[in-house]
Symmetry: C2
Subunit: 193 residues, 2 copies
């Protein structure tokens, strides 16, 4: 007969808890946030501990990044085009999940082992998608023969900072921001024509 479906209310409660935890972990920092703070904000009793919420937020953010970029990296297209699309997709994930992205970037350090190592492993796997695009672009002769690891780090650094300055009511859409970043990173500042 199969498992009974999860009641809708339960999913909603969990989402409420996660949304409040994301916001508070970002604003106050993980260590300064208590389960009581999260319960007070949601009016819901917590199921599981504070670190379970951190783990859920960090894992969900990692899932979002992979879901956005993995299909692009696997597509049958030229690497430089895929890199442009991956840049736009990565910025899209950040701008749609500002609180979660801040937690993903800054608060994961407070995970205890083995979760911390698992998080670092998955993050490295994600960065490897960008290193691979860089390598393919260099091999095809379209990208200059730069240090692929360093170049991938530069690209992700430039993208990741968007969580610090992006405002949903700002003048540029996430897509425009992604395209402008991709143009600048690919073309560089020097005038070539």
């Amino acid at each position: 007969m199969g498992l009974a479906p999860v009641p809708a209310e339960t999913a909603t409660r969990k989402d409420q808890m996660l949304a409040a935890a994301e916001r508070l972990f970002r604003q106050k920092g993980y260590l300064a946030t208590s389960i009581g703070d999260i319960e007070a904000e949601t009016g819901v009793n917590a199921v599981g501990g504070k670190e379970d919420l951190l783990w859920a937020i960090a894992s969900r953010a990692a899932d979002e990044f992979f879901a956005a970029v993995e299909p692009i990296a696997a597509a049958d297209e030229a690497a430089p085009l895929k890199l442009r699309r991956a840049i736009i997709a990565h910025v899209g994930v950040i701008t749609r999940n500002l609180d979660a992205a801040a937690v993903y970037f800054n608060e994961w350090r407070h995970l205890s082992e083995p979760r911390r190592a698992e998080f670092a492993r998955r993050r490295d796997e994600y960065e490897a998608l960008f290193r691979g695009l860089m390598r393919d672009g260099i091999r095809s002769g379209i990208f200059a023969p730069v240090d692929e690891k360093f170049a991938a780090l530069l690209v992700l650094s430039a993208l990741n900072w968007t969580y610090q300055w992006y405002k949903p009511d700002g003048p540029m859409s996430p897509e425009e921001i992604g395209r402008t970043l991709a143009d600048l990173l690919c073309n560089g500042l020097y005038r070539t024509a």
Copy 2:
């Protein structure tokens, strides 16, 4: 006649307090760090409150950034050369002050007014040095006619992330990191020759 010099011991104590506060604010976050934590780490009684330490760290970091980049921006040289030198100098400040840089980037939000506004004003003034170099480089025709504000933000984003990954025992010196970042940002990823 004049003022009595500050006793050497006082300066040392203050430096000890600031060094411990930088480390703890970075590791635990400002809100999760107590004055008691800082006293326990240094064995010194605090003079002034926790926010005074945050203000001192943020102000000193701002001073360092200005001291490194302002003379370069004011020099009588071509803007693209000055931008390269400013990039190297900015990375130098971060790599020499990793804890303070992390606090400068992330924890200043916890300053109360009017200090918070004063910090934001100075940071904007600092970013304007980079916007000015970008503008001059575009006017001189050496940089492509990009959005100067956005391009300055991209450059600083790529540089600022170094506090997240730089390891003093890594394979590249801060100077090499600065030069490699400047090359990539100026030339872009595309092969041009």
